[in-house]
Symmetry: C2
Subunit: 344 residues, 2 copies
């Protein structure tokens, strides 16, 4: 701040005090609305603060209130597309309530371990949102030590709030759709994830697939491949080389399904006339690929999770809730009846 009081950088409390001709303690009491300050003084302080573009230091207010007005969002295992949508939904709610969003992306095993060992959230956030389908016991202990409300988005956590879908029943719906179309030879393509959270999601979806097939006495196989588009492509390549292509493929995620579609297209196999393909997630580009899939709204996950945290931080906190959001089957162009020659 220059001598004539023009701001050339952020003003400090001392600058406001000098301009208003009062002590820094008076500036602080005045701006915090404490009533031991004369109205005329308060007005002078407010005018000086405004003229100098002075903003009270968040660190100072935080020290006084022991609140940080920040929420930590920790991504431990979720696809890029999913977490960015969740974060978007959550950040909008938090920002409109005056909270900052601190983002930590620790989806690699070593980063994740280090993060929970150091636990940089302590004293830095008022609440924590974890994105992933499960949290280890050790991680739960670390979160408990932060001693703020926690919500898990994508799975359940003992004693904590959660926002998730019912993976098993969504997979039952998907498999039933293929069975209803007449498919009697269905392969589920799953990925072999390295982290326990993704493995858990896979297990739940696989259980749903197997339950639906069992109900209808339908023959089904499970093929395990590596994650992502290339994993889906490799799975179909393997089936093509062994001459053992089913009439329908249910991929546990859209990226696997898109990879499967790519290999089928390259091999000149028409979808859905010869092979049906069904995904899971309704990735933003599933529509462009005309992929039939299971849809959930990650944005709604973020929104609900932020609301749970705000409610826990409010004057009447409620018990941690387990919110199960709906899913639905989105019919597009990659599923149809099996070819007649596949006769059953």
């Amino acid at each position: 701040v220059t001598q004539n009081g023009e701001a050339i950088g952020p003003a400090h409390i001392e600058d406001v005090a000098r301009r208003a001709g009062v002590s820094t303690a008076t500036v602080s009491r005045s701006l915090r609305g404490l009533d031991r300050v004369a109205p005329r003084t308060r007005e002078r302080v407010a005018r000086a603060a405004q003229e100098l573009h002075y903003v009270p230091s968040p660190a100072a207010s935080q020290l006084a209130s022991r609140r940080t007005q920040s929420v930590g969002v920790v991504v431990i295992s979720s696809g890029r597309w999913f977490w960015s949508e969740v974060v978007c939904g959550a950040e909008a709610v938090l920002r409109s309530s005056g909270y900052d969003t601190l983002l930590y992306i620790v989806d690699d095993p070593s980063g994740r371990r280090q993060f929970f060992d150091l636990m940089p959230l302590r004293r830095r956030v008022d609440a924590v949102m974890v994105l992933g389908s499960s949290v280890t016991g050790r991680e739960q202990d670390a979160l408990r030590r932060v001693d703020v409300p926690v919500v898990l988005v994508g799975g359940r956590m003992p004693g904590g709030a959660s926002v998730r879908i019912d993976d098993t029943s969504a997979a039952v719906t998907a498999a039933r759709h293929l069975i209803a179309l007449g498919h009697r030879d269905v392969v589920m393509v799953c990925s072999k994830a390295t982290d326990p959270s993704s493995r858990r999601t896979t297990r739940l979806r696989r259980q749903g697939f197997e339950r639906a097939l069992h109900e209808h006495g339908v023959h089904g196989r499970v093929l395990v491949t590596h994650p992502g588009v290339d994993g889906g492509a490799a799975a179909v390549e393997a089936m093509l080389s062994s001459g053992d292509l089913p009439t329908a493929v249910f991929a546990e995620g859209d990226e696997l399904a898109l990879g499967a579609l790519r290999t089928l297209r390259r091999a000149g196999i028409s979808v859905p006339e010869e092979v049906s393909v069904l995904g899971f997630d309704d990735h933003e580009l599933a529509d462009a690929a005309d992929l039939t899939t299971i849809s959930r709204s990650p944005n709604a996950h973020g929104h609900s999770a932020a609301m749970l945290l705000l409610s826990a931080l409010g004057p009447v906190p409620s018990r941690p809730a387990d919110v199960v959001l709906p899913t639905r089957l989105v019919l597009r162009g990659t599923t149809g009846a099996p070819p007649k020659s596949a006769g059953t």
Copy 2:
């Protein structure tokens, strides 16, 4: 903290002082490594702090140092996929250097205006990363008032650091590829964005397209549609209904290209035999769609931008740099020679 000193919540400095039998001022001086504390006292304080899982309050250290150890990342206009990749690249670098990432997603016009009016970053961050292709004069003033290093990812900013690609020359490369394949009737599909940043990117890419066509005396048209997959689909539908389909489509973004591919596939038009399609961005799913496109690395954008900020915060800050990252043409299955009947 209970009477026997077992932590049941985060310990405060008073708890450590009581356990170590010293004043809170001594705890503070001791843990900050100031040398007015006797070695034996310092050891006792360190042990008490460890036993109580005490972490010095970031707000308190921040008040002392006037550093927040946080970087604000502000998304003003970028596709979901692009910004999530940039944030991922940046967050990893910042976290490994001990900085937190505060994320603000203000890509809607009213949220953006409100954000720059309130400017919640003041006193809260040590540096700012803005994601978008341009920043208005008013926004630049608001950023200047925060008085910390700023980097723009995705465009240039007067007086500030930037990390970007050369959109125009990348578009020249794309158009030249189509011309080299023999195309003499090319349509560029652009989207009519509502925000000035996206409009600027469109203008730069369009200039490149027009320059390449002009160089080779090739006939070209520009078709403006709405953004996203549906915009690309609508553009091709319009050309189909007017019976005026070119032999090649250059979309200014991959989502537009994927929409174009969807309409062509639904209309039974084979790609690239009848129509070639070329995108821009190398979206994570461009590979699944076999889309020929211009590739850039958003993760590398985030990494470089974080490095620029860390360097500006370091002991020997350098002048704001303008980093232009490379792009390359990725040849996949959606571009080929024009059909012979299109004879030139």
